[in-house]
């Protein structure tokens, strides 16, 4: 496990996307420590009467030269609303890097990175790392409609992006499992690395299992500590309850009772 820190970052950019998402760029006072793709941070919220605990947010991108990392956040409640109000110069305390991350060494040469909605967040750093390692990843992203496709230009710089939208406004109409990448070509991929809503991850996992393709999913359970002590975020595995925060968030699907 990588060494974890608690550090005050400075907000150097804060961009709202479609009134529903915020992209925060956070600068470390010194050099960033080692971070695995698929790891997350626990963000301390600005003082609030209603929100008490930290919020777990996946790491969207890491830029060592600029000493920055990026968080792509969907505004869903009081806590994330507070994060959307941050402006340049604000300080934000992170406990990080947390969790295990995706298994880059087991992803193979041709992994398919499947993201649904804001579940695309960890896929940018993951894609970059896989390319650095010499792999040829492809993305498959699903959204409700065109405006739910986040950071497309950034992803397209790295690898081919396959798209599905529920309303058919762009790409294949339907869910990611309706795309030919999964429906007919799944066996061409060395592995599937998935993050998104639970029904989508379960549907993709079922396809992967049927095709005998290795598949990892990144879970998101409600958590308090982020470091495996409160035992609130457990998921059922074949070896009993495991903490999503410290023994996940990434699980190989055969570990789970899916």
């Amino acid at each position: 496990m990588l060494k974890r820190f608690t550090t005050d970052f400075t907000v150097v950019a804060a961009e709202m996307i479609d009134c529903e998402y915020v992209l925060l760029t956070l600068k470390h006072p010194e050099q960033l420590p080692e971070i695995n793709a698929g790891q997350f941070v626990e963000v301390k919220l600005p003082d609030s009467a209603t929100s008490f605990l930290r919020r777990p947010i996946s790491i969207h991108d890491v830029n060592r030269d600029n000493q920055t990392l990026q968080l792509l956040i969907r505004v869903v409640g009081n806590g994330t609303k507070l994060l959307s109000l941050l402006t340049i110069g604000d300080k934000l305390n992170l406990v990080y890097p947390l969790g295990n991350g995706f298994s880059l060494d087991k992803a193979g040469n041709r992994p398919l990175l499947v993201g649904g909605g804001v579940g695309v967040a960890p896929m940018l750093y993951l894609g970059k790392r896989l390319v650095e390692m010499g792999a040829q990843p492809e993305f498959l992203f699903g959204a409700r409609n065109k405006s739910g496709l986040l950071r497309l230009a950034e992803f397209e710089k790295i690898a081919k992006v396959n798209i599905t939208t529920e309303d058919g406004s762009v790409g294949t109409k339907g869910f990611v499992t309706n795309h030919s990448a999964i429906e007919s070509n799944i066996a061409n991929y060395s592995s599937l690395l998935v993050c998104g809503p639970m029904p989508m991850m379960k549907a993709v996992a079922a396809k992967a299992k049927a095709a005998g393709v290795r598949c990892e999913v990144s879970l998101e359970n409600k958590m308090a500590c982020g470091i495996g002590v409160c035992l609130c975020c457990v998921t059922e595995t074949k070896e009993g309850h495991k903490c999503v925060c410290s023994q996940g968030p990434v699980f190989e699907i055969n570990e789970l009772k899916w």
Partner: protein
């Protein structure tokens, strides 16, 4: 140089700050963030005779300035603890206490006697106050007769410092504390979590799988402080105060109310370095008030 040490009825603490069971794992989860040995003590996760899977997910609800949990004493059992976890704890040069829980008196007694064999564990915290298990747990701690009975039974097999952790979910916590003292407790710690509940209005469903759970965090501090003040003036054994301690000022308030030491719990989730900041803050407070030792602060509430 102020003296931060506390003698808790024979249990020597280098400072009055300990960690509350269930919020600090086995200590080593915090090694990246702090020098765990610099604390007065750590109280590791509730341990039972047999392994427990705990309750189903979801186990957590956030509340205004607090949280509700329903973990249900998930742990791998005392044998696993002794064999696999205890060897990793002997490196710490502070008091490592084990929180002991169970369903029946026999379970508790067996578990405590196993822990009694471990040289590097100077004390146990007897948990008769967990609200998240169906049998045992809080059932013992809500009745003075049952409290005295179980404490006496443990006293016969456990020969080191016996701390008894009390539940606030009672009519008179003083009566329970007196029963623990009569049963042979060396100290009492209070409060465990308050029984609470959270509802998801949109879905008309409970937020956590067990419907009710244990509430902790800043919101419970006034209740904990009141109970610590009441109990510390009703028993002769030392009181360890906990419940909603988020910073050094909170900790100082518990000491003033009559606690001889404190435990920091939920605050560890929000700042993994908070315990050492609280130790430093207590030192600063003593210097600022020209006090030479923590003992001058304990029970120093002026009511006139």
């Amino acid at each position: 140089m102020v003296d931060l040490s506390v003698n808790l009825n024979g249990l020597q603490l280098k400072n009055p700050v300990m960690t509350a069971s269930g919020t600090f794992g086995y200590g080593y989860e915090y090694d990246d963030f702090i020098d765990v040995s610099s604390l007065g003590g750590i109280i590791v996760k509730g341990t039972t005779l047999a392994p427990r899977e705990g309750n189903a997910y979801p186990r957590l609800a956030e509340t205004p300035q607090g949280m509700i949990n329903a973990v249900g004493l998930q742990n791998k059992g005392v044998d696993y603890f002794c064999k696999n976890i205890y060897p990793k704890l002997t490196k710490y040069t502070t008091n490592v206490l084990v929180n002991v829980s169970g369903s029946t008196i026999d379970d508790y007694v067996e578990c405590a006697s196993r822990i009694n064999e471990l040289d590097a564990i100077p004390a146990i915290e007897l948990n008769i106050s967990c609200p998240n298990v169906k049998h045992g747990g809080m059932a013992f701690g809500t009745n003075p007769v049952a409290t005295e009975e179980i404490v006496s039974a443990i006293r016969k097999v456990y020969h080191k410092h016996l701390m008894v952790k009390l539940t606030p979910n009672v009519t008179s916590i003083v009566d329970i504390a007196k029963a623990a003292e009569a049963g042979g407790a060396d100290s009492v710690s209070l409060i465990n979590t308050l029984l609470g509940m959270a509802i998801d209005a949109e879905r008309r469903r409970p937020v956590i799988s067990t419907i009710t759970g244990g509430m902790s965090g800043a919101a419970v501090k006034p209740i904990a402080l009141r109970m610590v003040w009441q109990v510390s003036h009703a028993v002769k054994i030392p009181v360890v105060g906990l419940g909603g301690i988020m910073n050094a000022t909170d900790a100082v308030e518990f000491l003033i109310a009559g606690a001889s030491a404190v435990e920091v719990g939920t605050a560890n989730f929000i700042d993994p370095t908070i315990t050492v900041k609280i130790v430093d803050g207590i030192r600063d407070y003593l210097e600022r008030h020209n006090m030479n030792s923590v003992s001058e602060l304990i029970d120093s509430l002026q009511t006139e």
